[in-house]
């Protein structure tokens, strides 16, 4: 009977992985990605402009009882929140801080409160003064869009499921109300 040959296993055997093909792929891939990469990420904020005055009037006539929220961004004083509910106006002012900048934290707080009392409203009208900077307008829109406090959510009725869900969105629809003014 032939004796089986004993296989000797060397547990300390080392080998070198050939990385050259992998490197070749990477060298080709990196320039492609470098060219097509966006190092500055840009997003958009959607707004509607009042195109035809007649359409706006018709819409207003249909929604006579709807709550209307307007943010008047004043150049000197701050942000004025005007809530028109059942034909009655309630006005609240969020004054500027001592350093002359807008108090966005306080504005967010007040808008959360307005949203709590009017969960069915998702649209606001924005009326900035002529001298207000674009940066401040975008900041005000940001504060109005969604709640920064993750614990604060607002109820929304989902017609598809017939159930109430929660959302952190407050007023995502923004319309520049004074575009057509002279």
């Amino acid at each position: 009977m032939k004796r089986m040959k004993k296989v000797k296993i060397d547990h300390n055997y080392e080998f070198e992985l050939d990385l050259a093909p992998l490197l070749a792929v990477m060298v080709k891939l990196v320039p492609v990605l470098l060219v097509s990469s966006a190092f500055v990420q840009l997003m958009t904020i959607e707004t509607q402009l009042p195109q035809v005055v007649q359409q706006a009037i018709e819409k207003n006539e249909k929604d006579l009882k709807a709550t209307h929220i307007t943010l008047e961004v004043k150049e000197k004083d701050g942000v004025k929140i005007v809530v028109n509910k059942d034909g009655k106006d309630s006005v609240e002012m969020v004054p500027k801080k001592a350093d002359g900048t807008y108090d966005f934290a306080r504005l967010q707080e007040r808008l959360r409160d307005v949203k709590m009392h009017n969960p069915e409203v998702f649209k606001i009208d924005l009326s900035p003064d002529a001298g207000v900077s674009y940066n401040d307008i975008v900041h005000v829109m940001d504060e109005a869009r969604r709640s920064r406090d993750s614990n604060v959510k607002f109820p929304v009725f989902d017609k598809a499921t017939n159930q109430e869900t929660k959302t952190d969105y407050m007023f995502p629809e923004v319309t520049f109300a004074n575009t057509m003014e002279g």
Partner: protein, 164 residues
């Protein structure tokens, strides 16, 4: 005379250690894949223009690209008007309507009536992608919005940088 010693000629090879280079490329690849743009729309920010930062997460859609910087107004790559002290020059404003920018209206009107662009959804739905300098006052933007709206472009999308 001392004889010069010569090394025997022999073929020599050496293995280049590329492990560290592969490491570096792997890190670079992951970073580039993260920053890879998946948006269909290519927006090239104007030189010396600061866009406002926003927490908005809506990706840009194909629209007419309008740029309003401190120096000029552009549609795509076409210069429409020049700005002076962050405002429009008097010659570009309609004397009967101070919010109406004549060259901007003419250009947008031309796009709206262009037979080649009549099936373009951006033109059909009147969409504008507005890149404006964050330092510009609202009075300038209002004029642009008013004119765009008059030319049949009521859907305005404000381009912002990602951030707070």
């Amino acid at each position: 005379m001392r004889r010069r010693y010569e090394l025997p000629k022999q073929k020599s090879t050496f293995g280049l250690n590329i492990t560290s280079m592969t490491d570096m490329f792997t890190i670079l690849l992951v970073f580039l894949l993260q920053t890879y743009s998946t948006s269909d729309v290519e927006i090239i920010p104007e030189k010396d223009m600061r866009l406002p930062a926003s927490s908005s997460s809506t990706n840009p859609v194909e629209s007419i690209k309008l740029v309003v910087s401190k120096e000029l107004v552009k549609i795509d790559k076409t210069k429409i008007a020049e700005m002076k002290n962050s405002d429009f020059e008097a010659k570009d404003i309609d004397p009967n309507d101070t919010n109406f920018i004549l060259p901007l209206f003419n250009e947008l009107d031309k796009i709206a009536k262009d037979e080649k662009l009549k099936d373009n959804p951006a033109v059909k739905e009147g969409r504008i992608l507005l890149q404006a300098d964050s330092a510009l006052p609202y009075s300038v933007l209002r004029k642009v919005m008013y004119t765009a709206s008059m030319a049949g472009f009521p859907q305005l999308k404000l381009v912002t940088l990602v951030g707070e």
